[in-house]
Amino acid sequence: MSTINKNAANVRATIVSNKRVGQYFQLIINIGELATVCKPGNFVAINVGGANSRMVLRRAFAISRVSTSAISGGTMELIVAPHGQGSKWLCSQVEGDELDVIVPLGTAFGIPTEPVHVLLVGGGYGSAPLFGLAELLNARGCRVDMLLGASTAAKIYAPMEGKRAVNSLRIYTEDGSMGHKGRVTDPIPEMIHDSNIAVIYSCGPMAMLSAIDSITRGSDVVHQCAVEESMACGIGICMTCVLPVEQEDGTVAMLRTCIDGPVMDGSVVQWEKVGKAL
C-alpha cells in the first residue's frame, strides 16, 4: 500500500442519470462505498471513448457532490462541459452505461475548525464543486458567501438546491446577461475590507485564481484554490500537470496538481511563472 492515492480505486461504475443543465451535463454515477471517502475538491479520472478508442488518456473531472444515501448506493455528481472529444463522449453516455473510473484522487479543500466567515468564488462550471463544499461549511456553522462568474449567462452553473447552503450569492457576467456586469473578482477587495472573511475557496480558470491571489496577497485571508492543468494520468506518474510552487525552504518546485493538488494554497503557487521554465 502507498501513502499516495491511498483512497483511490479503479472500478467500473454505472451512470445513474445524465441530464443537460444549460451548457453543461450533470452526470450521477454510482461508485458505491467509494462515495464515503470522497471529499470536496477531490477529482475522478475516467476512461473515454470505449474499448477501441484512439483516446488513450483518462479525463479528469472535479467531483461536484457525493451522496451516500442514494437508493442505488453511493453516488457522485459531475458537471461536465462538452468542449473536447473526451468530454463530448462522456456527455453522450446514458443511464445504465458503465464507465471505468479511478476515484477519489487529489487533495481536498481544508475545512476550518472554527465557524469562520468564508467566501466561495466559482468561474464557469468551476462553481460545481463549491456547492458540495458550501453544504459542508454550512453544517460546520460557517457564514458562506458565494460569487459566481462567467463570460455569459449560459455558462453560469448555479443549481437551485445548491443555493440553500449559502448565505448570499452574487452572479457576475462579463456581458451583463445575468446578475452584475463585470468580473467575478471585482467585488472581492471590498468584501474582504468590509467583512471578516477568513478563507476564500476558489475553483475556475487559472486567470481567475491568479487574480484572486493578487487580491489576497499580503492579507490574512487564506486562499484555497482548485487548479486545472491538463493531465495525462491523474495518478502522479506522468509529470505533465505540474505548477511552480514555492517550497518551505524558499525554492520553487514543479509540483503535480494531481497529487499535491488540485486544491493548493494560492499563496505559494508562483502564478507569474506558470507556463515558463524555472
Partner: protein, 312 residues
C-alpha cells in the same frame, strides 16, 4: 495449470516475469503501489535520474494525439542524492526488482552517476538513457550519434565494472539503428532498450503556435508500436545474442507477444499505465495465457520466433 517458465534475463540479471514499467512512466513507484504489488512484476524501471535536481520544461507538457500522446517533461527529477535517499529504499522495501535509469548532459555525468550507483545494493541493472528527446539541445541526444553513444556506454562500463548489467536506451529517430546498437554493444552494453519516444509536434490552432511549452515532444502510445516492432526486429536480426527490453505502445498481451516474437526478452509498459494503472498486470497475465495457448513451455522459446524460416 501451466508450467510455463515465464522468467527472463537481461545480461546477467534474472527476472521472474518479462514485464517492466517504462522509464519516466512510473514516477517513484509509490503512485502505482496503490494499484498493484510492485514485487509482482518483472521490475520497476525508474525515471531517468540526473546528477542534480531538475525542474524540467514549462507547461503545457502534454498533448493527446491519435492513439498516443506527446510529452515534453524534460527529465524533471530530484537528482541522484535525493533519489538514493528516498526512492531506492522505498522500492527495496517493496521487494521490487529495480532497474535504475540514468541520464546526463555530458559523457562525464553518466560516468559520475555510474560511480555513485556502483555501491548501491538492490539494483538489478542500469538503464543508460542516451535518447531522451526532451533536452534543450537536440545535439545532446547521444543516441543519434554513433560515436557519442559509444563513448557514454564505454565510460559507464569502465566506471561500473563488470557486474551490473548495462541496458542502453536508444532512439528510433536515426537512419541506421543497427549500427548505433552495434556500437553501444561493442562499448560494453549488455542489453538494449528499444525504443524511446519519437520526436513530434502539435500546433495549437487557437494560438497558431506549437502547443507544447518545449515546442517539440516525444510521441508515445499505440501510434508508435509498429516503429518499435520494426526496431526490435531489425536489431535482433543483426545481433540475436543481445537481449532487448522493448517498449513503445504496448497495451495488452498481444502487443507484448509481438515484441517478444520480434526479438524482445522483456517488455516495458509506459503510456498504457496512464490510461490504466493496472495495464502492466493485464499485459503480464495476457502474455502468460497467450504463450501457454500457443504451446510454448517457456518465454525463451518465443523470443525472436518471427525470425524463424517459414518451414519451421
Amino acid at each position: 495449470m501451466s508450467t510455463l517458465d515465464f522468467s527472463t534475463t537481461l545480461g546477467n540479471a534474472w527476472f521472474p516475469t518479462p514485464t517492466f514499467t517504462a522509464s519516466g512512466c512510473a514516477s517513484s513507484g509509490r503512485e502505482l503501489a496503490q494499484f498493484f504489488d510492485l514485487a509482482s512484476i518483472g521490475g520497476v524501471v525508474t525515471k531517468s535520474i540526473m546528477s542534480k535536481a531538475r525542474s524540467g520544461r514549462p507547461t503545457p507538457r502534454m498533448a493527446e494525439t491519435p492513439s498516443g500522446m506527446l510529452n515534453s517533461i524534460g527529465l524533471q527529477g530530484p537528482g541522484l542524492d535525493a533519489f538514493l535517499a528516498k526512492d531506492i529504499p522505498y522500492l527495496v522495501e517493496q521487494k521490487a526488482r529495480i532497474i535504475v535509469s540514468i541520464a546526463g548532459e555530458t559523457v562525464e555525468e553518466y560516468s559520475t552517476l555510474a560511480r555513485k550507483l556502483r555501491a548501491v545494493s538492490g539494483i538489478s541493472a542500469l538503464e543508460v538513457n542516451i535518447s531522451c528527446p526532451n533536452v534543450e539541445n537536440r545535439g545532446l541526444v547521444f543516441a543519434c550519434d554513433p560515436e557519442a553513444s559509444r563513448r557514454v556506454i564505454d565510460g559507464v562500463r569502465r566506471t561500473i565494472g563488470g557486474e551490473l548489467p548495462i541496458i542502453a536506451k536508444l532512439s528510433p529517430d536515426v537512419t541506421d539503428l543497427v549500427s548505433i546498437a552495434r556500437g553501444v554493444v561493442d562499448a560494453g552494453a549488455d542489453a538494449l532498450a528499444l525504443i524511446n519516444t519519437v520526436l513530434g509536434m502539435v500546433i495549437n490552432l487557437d494560438t497558431m503556435r506549437p502547443h507544447l511549452g518545449g515546442k517539440t515532444g516525444g510521441l508515445s502510445g499505440p501510434a508508435i508500436r509498429p516503429i518499435a516492432v520494426r526496431a526490435v526486429y531489425q536489431v535482433h536480426a543483426a545481433m540475436p545474442q543481445v537481449p532487448i527490453l522493448a517498449m513503445g505502445g504496448i497495451s495488452n498481451g498481444r502487443d507484448a507477444l509481438e515484441m517478444i516474437a520480434a526479438g524482445a526478452s522483456g517488455v516495458s509498459i509506459g503510456t498504457a499505465s496512464f490510461g490504466n494503472p493496472m495495464a502492466i498486470i493485464a499485459v503480464q497475465d495476457e502474455l502468460k495465457a497467450l504463450l501457454t495457448a500457443k504451446g510454448f513451455n517457456s518465454l525463451r522459446q518465443a523470443i525472436g520466433y518471427a525470425h524463424r524460416p517459414e518451414s519451421e
